[in-house]
């Protein structure tokens, strides 16, 4: 039996009917076509499915879609404004803070939710913020440099 789900994703309101056991990540990917958000572990431990839900970084494989009723969600597809990249995206490009790119959407979600909450963090706090996101390619330090550059105001947000 499908149930009604109303939420807003990347500023777009949706009204859907989903099976009660469907995970949020599967609704985002399969129903809305937002395949930027990945799946990597089936055990809520790798972080590639991280999205921003009501301002918090959340692993979208670890909650049911119906639990997102009424929520405001941002996925990686919602970071850029038109053709203007978000400061974090620009910094990730300049600092080479991605390689294979599979963890990048989740990493950006964790980074954005964290910096929105704490715009002037210490390096240790930055490390803690992305500790739930596994990256097998970069060794994390380039990601920390990119986030630090954003914290330092090196990248301006598009109006």
């Amino acid at each position: 039996m499908r149930k009604e789900l109303k939420f807003t994703v990347n500023g777009q309101p949706y009204e859907l009917y989903v099976k009660p056991k469907t995970l949020l990540v599967d609704v985002l990917r399969n129903e809305l076509g937002l395949t930027g958000t990945k799946k990597g572990c089936e055990s809520s431990s790798c972080g590639v499915c991280t999205i921003i839900l009501n301002g918090m970084a959340v692993k979208s494989c670890s909650i049911l879609a119906l639990q997102a009723e009424g929520a405001e969600i941002t996925t990686v597809e919602g970071l850029a404004k038109g053709d203007q990249l978000h400061p974090l995206q620009k910094a990730f490009l300049d600092y080479g803070a991605y390689q294979c790119g599979f963890c990048t959407p989740g990493m950006l979600a964790s980074a954005k939710a964290f910096l929105d909450e704490n715009p002037k963090p210490t390096e240790e706090e930055i490390k803690e913020a992305i500790d739930g996101n596994v990256c097998r390619c970069t060794g994390y330090n380039s990601i920390i440099r990119a986030m630090t550059a954003v914290v330092n105001g090196d990248y301006k947000e598009a109006k």
Partner: protein, 760 residues
């Protein structure tokens, strides 16, 4: 040095970057085709068993199931990358009579969705007769051990001897001889995108496979062999790939089963391995029992080294046979050993097959080797850095009968690391710095795959608007080869990076090419690309000569869209004009340049070598045995740097993977069953575990490489294990010879040390 070049040597945003940071890159994992089915694979629960009976009828009747295939539905061929040796092609993929490890595939299902396919797995009835199994390679080598394959008595899969000089005689001349036994552990590649494929077999008899691979060409050849097709009827396309690290250049069960199901059903079939399958049923790093004996004069001159290695092969040959060979070679590096002997044995066991993992046998060799050098240095009371420097390879050195080394920046690396250590000064208690150094290949020379094609090839096409299409078979799995090759192409042609469109990773478009493994891309693909670009440039310059009419003593080149006289750069004409003239003069044909590269007369292993020295600083908690990484400083020689931001990424990424293998990652087993097949249980380094990392590039020029460049990235996994073991010793005085260096091992060693002290 960078001013010499317009494009290379300056950090460039990678060509795949914008798609990756916006979530618009479409991975195999994201692909959906119309009318597509989803596949799942049934795997053996036994480490070793005969298949007595298989009944698929219940599964076939399930609503939504479209096909259930077993080994009987295959041609019965065996897969393998060592194609020069038929008996080493030993993996059926869908087993017909016998299973050899927990995870060996026995059946594949295609259904309307993943849930149905998954549920139908339970309805396949397989009757097994369990057989005695062997898990330890040393046990497997014994007479009377359970035998996995008919062709391999005592389970010996491959042996390898490398030898020069007279080792026995040389040991007699040594002032000091030390020997010891080491053990290296298994490690999972842990690609964030698991292995997967979408296969579409059309009614025209042609198969297209989209897959996360490191070599489209390998998959094309292996799939066509296994399915009885001509190579040209199999097209392999690699979408953006979520990592490889050595795990994705052999034909895997997802690719084979998806293709087989699609061949039968003539519908697209997608199979994505689960994370648990990724841990238990794909290849993994080769564990090694490693005996080493070294002999030297009391002034520190190395005289002789002997190494005997037994590797845990797992159930099949895979690329593990290559790792066995490479470990044998790396074990002599990066020193001038006048006498050397290596005996390697790869032994089949009833465990998941072992193969290549970033470093390809090098991290194992250097863990044991670099640990021993420190022990030796202490024995003759010599500084560990000094003894290395004294014996290190220098430029233009021949490793007897094996390899020719041209560029070698080890000397500069030692100087940089020496400065770093001096700067650190005296460390607080329980802190230590250890060093390790390495040499690593820039692409392998061996051709056990038996390709008749050049090792690398490229095509460059210049269009009327000056845009350049670059076709290559290199596979970018995140390391940045698309960008590196585009930069080499742009530099050679004298155009800008955004003039280049890279068309890689599609067997229908690109020339056959061995793909991305063994640190091939920068040097081997780079040489092919540079040659293709030079070929296209020569065609443009022919017309430019006619137009500019220079004195014959002047030659022309292209830079920044200008064709100019090299000695009188103020005389130039537009690249765009000459492109138009050339195409018109060629009766409207685009300008096409071709390039290829296969190493010749460059020894047995690699045409060029990357080098480096690393200092690892750790802090050991003597109460818990926990090792904390403080800082890892690496001085390395990758020749001319092509993309600096890419090289930094390689240094840091390699360090993270190597440090993980050195101190926390392992795959404990119980009777062949991997006990930690999830990311939660498998300890991988996270951001809080990462120490500060510093990369120092030393400036060399490699004559064999494009613009003097060579490998950066894979070799950097080599020094960390040994350097870390040395650091732990320098911190608390215990030597761990068994990777990974877990708190438990450190604590036990500290207790033993304490006991020994009390006895005295």
């Amino acid at each position: 040095m960078s001013d010499k070049y317009a494009v290379i040597g300056k950090s460039q945003i990678k060509v795949d970057g914008p798609a990756k940071v916006t979530g618009s890159a479409k991975y195999t994992f994201d692909m959906i085709l119309p009318n597509m089915l989803y596949g799942k694979i049934l795997r053996s629960p036994h480490p070793h068993a005969k298949i007595l009976k298989m009944d698929t009828s219940r599964a076939e009747k399930m609503i939504g199931v479209k096909a259930v295939l077993t080994g009987k539905d295959t041609l019965g061929r065996k897969n393998g990358v060592w194609r020069r040796f038929p008996e080493l092609c030993d993996e059926e993929i869908l087993c017909r009579e016998k299973v050899r490890y927990i995870g060996d595939p026995v059946a594949a299902i295609a259904a309307v969705d993943e849930e149905t396919a998954e549920a139908a797995l339970d309805l396949i009835d397989v009757e097994y007769e369990p057989l005695p199994a062997v898990f330890d390679p040393l046990e497997g080598m014994k007479e009377g051990a359970p035998q996995l394959h008919e062709h391999a008595e005592r389970n010996i899969n491959v042996t390898r001897r490398i030898e020069w000089g007279d080792v026995s005689e040389a040991f007699e001349k040594c002032d000091v001889i030390l020997e010891d036994q080491f053990h290296t552990s298994s490690q999972a590649h842990l690609c964030m995108e698991t292995h997967g494929a979408v296969a579409d077999f059309g009614f025209d008899g042609k198969l297209t496979v989209w897959t996360s691979t490191q070599s489209n060409y390998y998959i094309q050849v292996l799939l066509s062999t296994m399915l009885g097709l001509r190579e040209g009827d199999v097209r392999v396309v690699k979408p953006p790939s979520g990592g490889g690290f050595g795990s994705k250049f052999e034909l895997d069960s997802a690719q084979f089963c998806a293709a087989l199901l699609s061949q039968k059903l003539r519908r697209p079939v997608k199979i994505i391995l689960t994370r648990e399958e990724e841990f238990t049923a794909t290849k993994r790093k080769t564990p090694m029992s490693y005996y080493v004996k070294v002999g030297a004069k009391k002034d520190g001159t190395f005289l002789a080294k002997e190494v005997r290695v037994v590797t845990e092969g797992g159930a099949y040959t895979a690329m593990g046979a290559t790792a066995l060979t490479l470990t044998g070679f790396y074990s002599c590096m990066p020193y001038k050993w006048p006498n050397y002997r290596y005996d390697g044995y790869r032994v089949y066991t009833n465990t998941a097959p072992t193969s290549a993992l970033r470093g390809f046998g090098a991290p194992q060799a250097y863990f044991a080797g670099e640990s021993m050098i420190d022990v030796l240095a202490a024995e003759i009371k010599m500084d560990p850095l000094e003894i290395r420097r004294k014996n290190a390879i220098t430029p233009n050195y021949e490793v007897p009968g094996q390899a020719y080394i041209q560029s070698c920046g080890l000397k500069e690396c030692y100087e940089a690391i020496e400065k770093h250590i001096q700067k650190r000064g005296k460390l607080p208690p329980n802190r230590g710095i250890g060093i390790g150094n390495y040499a690593f290949m820039s692409g392998g020379i061996f051709n056990w795959f038996n390709t008749p094609y050049a090792f690398s090839a490229a095509t460059v096409k210049i269009n009327i608007d000056g845009k350049v299409d670059l076709f290559t078979g290199a596979c970018d799995t995140g390391q940045g080869s698309d960008t590196t090759l585009a930069m080499i192409c742009a530099e050679e042609l004298g155009v800008h990076l955004d003039d280049i469109r890279v068309h890689a990773e599609d067997t229908d478009l690109g020339p056959a090419d061995l793909g991305s493994w063994g640190s091939r891309e920068t040097l081997m693909n780079g040489n092919a690309v540079k040659m293709a670009a030079a070929d296209a440039k020569r065609q443009l310059l022919e017309f430019a000569y006619a137009k500019m009419k220079p004195n014959v003593v002047y030659d022309l080149d292209i830079k920044d869209h200008k064709i100019y006289m090299v000695d009188r750069p103020e005389r130039s004409i537009s690249y765009f004009d000459i492109v138009q003239d050339t195409i018109r003069a060629k009766e409207g044909q685009t300008v096409i340049g071709r390039g290829h590269y296969t190493p010749h007369r460059k020894g047995m292993v690699s045409p060029a070598w990357g080098f480096g020295v690393q200092a690892v600083e750790v802090e050991v908690d003597p109460e818990t045995g926990k090792v904390k990484l403080i800082e890892i400083v690496t001085a390395h020689d990758c020749g001319q740097v092509i993309n600096p931001v890419g090289v930094i990424g390689q240094v840091e990424g390699a360090t993270m993977l190597a440090a993980g293998g050195a101190f926390c990652e392992e795959q404990p087993m119980d009777n062949g069953k991997i006990l930690n097949p999830s990311i939660g249980d498998y300890k991988v380094l996270r951001s809080l575990d990462m120490p500060k990392t510093v990369g120092i590039e030393v400036d060399t020029y490699e004559p064999e490489g494009p613009f003097g460049a060579k490998e950066a990235g894979e070799g950097l996994t080599s020094p960390t294990g040994g350097a870390m073991a040395n650091a732990v010793y320098n911190a608390v005085g215990v030597r761990i010879k068994d990777q990974p260096i877990t708190p438990e091992k450190v604590l036990n060693a500290l207790k033993e040390k304490e006991k020994g002290r009390k006895k005295k």
